[in-house]
């Protein structure tokens, strides 16, 4: 058990906590024998993948577990035994001694009340004598404390009128309203863009520094851990696997699971060609790219594969512009004069934050969104001019993988039907030959052939995404558009899917537009990188130019804000980033509704 220097009274003490969810049909153990201590002024991170029990542990500290959760063990907050408290004393504890910031700031705030009202309520439920006016005045001060500059104007606004970052600042203002001893941030930055995430992490740090609040950060993101934590607790399957100081954990992980987890995290660095996350061995299997440091030149085609260079670029996007919305209300320009191209066998990473228009570009390329102006050319043919058979022919040669395999696979179709559907639609092969093709496709995405009779809900998230990839490969595409294909997956699963994509790309040599917000993923697999910001393409170049020597100020900020899973390096990066932003301190929030609507 680690204890803080000086060992003052602990703020949080969880001893041998077990939580079981009981339903008439099944019992599920979510937390097993967990012991955690947090001391004043400390930032402790609980890190783990989905199902590790980290959020359940956090909810137990506020006594917020649902009624069907059976608990054992002791939860002590600021000297009070949470489990023994009656409803009224439990209520008095929540918000006053321990407060929580949740993941999704849009849904975590009540849509029907102004944010001033919601912050003021946090004060008034703990101090009945406080007048409405006084509470509102202090709410304004709290918003300022949470880094919202024009707090006076914001008080009367409603959650939907604010950007994601501002909403999360409001959540933090609510959480610190009663000066709690312990602040729990449960995936508080997961739904935010990296630049906003960096600001929120700065804010949490400054709250700790100014108010001496202990902070418990629940996250799956190793970069966030490296950035903010003093001490780290690794959880897996409801158990604490390892506890260590942040430097020790990243430098000298003890447990095999921690080592594997750290290895699975993609790093923002110039990976040599053919790097795989999990094997960490360079296998120069990519055609024509063996160890090449400047892989910008189109690679030679795979021997035996159709000569893709014959027709020049696989994809070229010329002056693409997309506008949404009605004339009267002012049209939103989601994509503004974007041009780029992809040569055969090349991987172009398209990065940007939410609302940057990157997904809209992807949708234009597969023909799901019609451009307002400009052209998408596939193999030299204008997509918008194509129709009938030529459109069908173009579509056969290009396929797409979406972010959430849970919703992009038809729940009523078996895996085999999902994968075979492109073949059926294009009347390719007989029933028997299609089945053989499905088996070989599943093998190529390393799924057991027996899975083909299952339904999507019977598969894990990683398996479902492999099915989506198998389906995308069914017709042997020459261009693959992958829109955030690994963003919904746990890191270790993401690693296997990314490795798989790299292998497949090396084997089949298709061109690929890889759309993501994650710079580390891009640094792993892209030959060239395009950066989008507010609908415009701000930078386009080789991976090494864009990610490691960016010219555009926005790219510089974006790269600086991406947290790396290394506490020492992250500290340096933070200093650099703060220098770039013009000094430390929160409050760099400008737009209000900028990201609320979103044109992605």
């Amino acid at each position: 058990m680690t204890s803080a220097p000086g060992a003052p009274r602990r703020v949080l003490g969880i001893e041998a906590l077990s939580v079981t969810f009981r339903s008439p049909r099944a019992e599920q153990v979510a937390v097993r024998d967990v012991t955690i201590e947090v001391y004043p002024g400390e930032i402790v991170a609980i890190v783990g993948e989905s199902g590790s029990g980290k959020s359940v542990t956090a909810l137990s500290t506020l006594g917020l577990l649902p009624p069907h959760a059976a608990q054992q063990g002791r939860v002590e907050v600021d000297g009070l035994d949470v489990r023994s408290l009656g409803p009224e004393r439990l209520r008095a504890l929540r918000g006053a001694r321990v407060a929580m910031v949740f993941q999704e700031p849009m849904t975590a705030l009540n849509p029907a009340f102004s944010i001033g009202w919601q912050v003021a309520e946090a004060l008034r439920v703990h101090d009945r004598r406080l007048s409405k006016r006084e509470a509102m005045r202090r709410a304004g001060e709290l918003l300022v404390l949470a880094g919202i500059r024009d707090a006076g104007r914001r008080l009367g606004q409603f959650p939907h009128e604010l950007s994601g970052g501002l909403r999360q600042r409001v959540m933090i203002a609510i959480a610190i309203a009663c000066d709690p001893k312990l602040l729990i941030a449960d995936e508080a930055t997961t739904a935010l863009d990296v630049t906003v995430q960096a600001e929120i992490l700065d804010l949490l740090r400054s709250i700790r520094d100014r108010m001496g609040t202990a902070v418990l950060v629940i996250t799956h993101n190793m970069g966030v851990v490296a950035d903010i934590a003093d001490r780290v607790i690794v959880m897996k399957d409801g158990r604490v696997v390892e506890q260590a100081s942040v430097d020790d954990l990243f430098e000298r992980p003890q447990e095999p699971y921690t080592k594997r987890l750290l290895a699975a995290v993609p790093r923002l660095q110039p990976h040599p060609r053919g790097t795989r996350l999990l094997e960490e061995v360079a296998v120069p299997t990519r055609p024509g790219a063996a160890g090449s440091a400047t892989p910008t030149a189109p690679r030679a085609p795979v021997p035996g594969a159709p000569d893709l260079r014959r027709s020049g670029d696989v994809l070229s996007v010329e002056h693409l512009t997309v506008e949404f919305g009605a004339r009267a209300t002012g049209r939103l320009r989601a994509v503004d004069d974007v041009s780029f191209s992809i040569s055969p066998g090349e991987v172009l990473g398209l990065v940007g934050e939410s609302g940057s228009g990157k997904s809209t570009v992807g949708k234009c390329i597969v023909g799901l969104v019609k451009p307002t102006s400009g052209r998408v050319r596939l193999w030299g043919e204008d997509l918008s001019a194509a129709s009938g058979r030529s459109l069908k022919r173009l579509r056969r040669r290009c396929s797409v993988v979406f972010q959430d395999p849970g919703s992009s696979l038809d729940p009523r179709m078996t895996v085999a039907e999902c994968v075979a559907e492109p073949l059926v639609v294009n009347r390719s092969g007989s029933r028997r030959s299609r089945d053989a093709r499905v088996v070989s496709l599943l093998e190529s995405v390393r799924l057991d052939a027996d899975l083909r009779y299952r339904y999507p809900h019977e598969l894990s998230g990683g398996q479902r995404q492999r099915v989506s990839i198998a389906r995308a490969l069914a017709l042997g595409p020459e261009l693959l558009v992958a829109d955030e294909p690994t963003s919904a997956l746990d890191v270790s699963v993401q690693a296997t899917v990314l490795d798989l994509l790299l292998d497949l790309q090396a084997k089949f040599g298709f061109g690929c537009l890889f759309i993501t917000h994650d710079l580390a993923v891009v640094s792993l697999l892209a030959d060239r990188v395009a950066v989008m910001h507010s609908g415009r393409l701000v930078e386009l170049g080789t991976r090494d130019e864009v990610l490691f020597n960016p010219k555009d100020p926005y790219t510089q900020r974006l790269v600086a804000a991406a947290p790396v899973p290394d506490p020492v390096e992250q500290r340096e990066r933070r200093q650099k980033r703060l220098a770039l932003a013009g000094g430390p301190g929160p409050g760099a929030e400008a737009g209000s509704t900028g990201q609320a609507g979103g044109g992605e």
């Binding site: 009224e88 209520r91 008095a92 918000g95 009540n110 029907a112 309520e121 939907h160 609510i174």
Partner: protein
């Protein structure tokens, strides 16, 4: 009109006018779709051709259809709904004397239903899957499935015939003032009309509250330290009422049609009874006038629903911009 809300009102009003225009078209069409024509319907099967021709001339039914429609429309614009064939009174004055009484009946029973149904639904939601929830759910289904006339007879048997507590008939001569001076005559009609409404709205409230109880903001409110009473009574209720209030507006025509049966049974001198009697005597001007009025009420109801929703939900309000 500088505010977006003003614009929204103006736009919705214009739409309502268009809808009402189409309703007049349909009503006019209905009148002329009668088998054998209006004259045959009114004068009966024995009427001679000469009689029919003279009736048609007197009523203007011999003119071309567009001209007739224009005449009908211009009469409407002068608030002239025609004259009852049987009652020898203008339809306008018939409706004017009965509408307030029907409004009292439907208004009071809607208010009663709302006041009972909302707490019932909330209570069911927080006691979900417990005995109280099952009992009320069963009651709601029974109440919803029971035909109104059957329920009315049941109530009359129990409260009038057996217990002698409440009158079963409303004196036909009662005006609005007398009606309000003797509220006991209102009880059974109001209860009869309210029961199915309570059934529908308690279900609606229950599911809305259940949805909102599982929302993230409810968890935030609890994490703030808000007492459960406040979480449900302010946070959840405010968001759950928005759809319920909107539903209320769309419920206006349902209440009106319920009133037709109820008024007939209790001899309640309202629009429903007027409509019922007119239907029995083929008094078409009255029937069409009432239909037009109900259509108007429907349009007004949905307009009110939209306005209520915009007032209650800030997201809807800013969506209006």
């Amino acid at each position: 009109m500088r505010s977006p809300f003003g614009w929204f009102l103006l736009k919705r009003l214009a739409q309502a006018v268009v809808v009402v225009f189409f309703v007049t078209l349909i009503v006019f069409g209905l009148l002329h779709a009668l088998p054998g024509g209006v004259a045959r319907g009114i004068l009966g099967a024995q009427a001679s051709n000469a009689e029919i021709a003279s009736f048609n001339r007197a009523q203007g039914f011999d003119k071309p259809l567009p001209v007739q429609y224009w005449m009908y429309l211009s009469r409407l614009l002068h608030a002239n709904l025609g004259t009852s064939y049987k009652l020898n009174q203008s339809v306008g004055s018939l409706i004017a004397s009965r509408l307030p009484r029907t409004l009292v009946l439907t208004g009071v029973s809607t208010a009663v239903a709302f006041v009972v149904a909302v707490p019932l639904g909330v209570w069911q939601a927080i006691r979900r899957r417990r005995l109280a929830d099952y009992v009320i759910t069963t009651g709601a289904f029974v109440g919803y499935a029971t035909p109104v006339y059957f329920l009315a007879l049941l109530l009359v048997i129990v409260f009038n015939a057996d217990l002698h507590l409440l009158p079963s008939q409303v004196p036909g001569t009662y005006n609005l003032g007398q009606l309000l001076a003797h509220p006991s005559v209102l009880v059974l009609p109001v209860v009869t009309l309210a029961v199915p409404t309570i059934a529908v709205f308690s279900r609606y409230t229950r599911s809305a509250v259940l949805d909102n109880l599982s929302e993230d903001y409810t968890r935030t409110a609890r994490a703030k330290g808000a007492p459960e009473r406040r979480v449900v009574g302010i946070h959840v209720l405010r968001n759950s009422l928005t759809p319920v209030i909107a539903m209320l507006g769309y419920y206006v025509p349902v209440m009106f049609s319920g009133a037709i049966v109820v008024e007939e049974i209790f001899n309640f001198p309202g629009m429903g009874l007027l409509f019922w009697n007119a239907a029995q005597t083929s008094d078409y001007p009255v029937l069409l006038g009432v239909i037009l009025l109900i259509a108007l009420a429907t349009v007004t109801g949905s307009l009110l629903a939209d306005i209520a929703q915009a007032v209650a939900d800030p997201r809807v309000r800013s969506g209006l911009k």
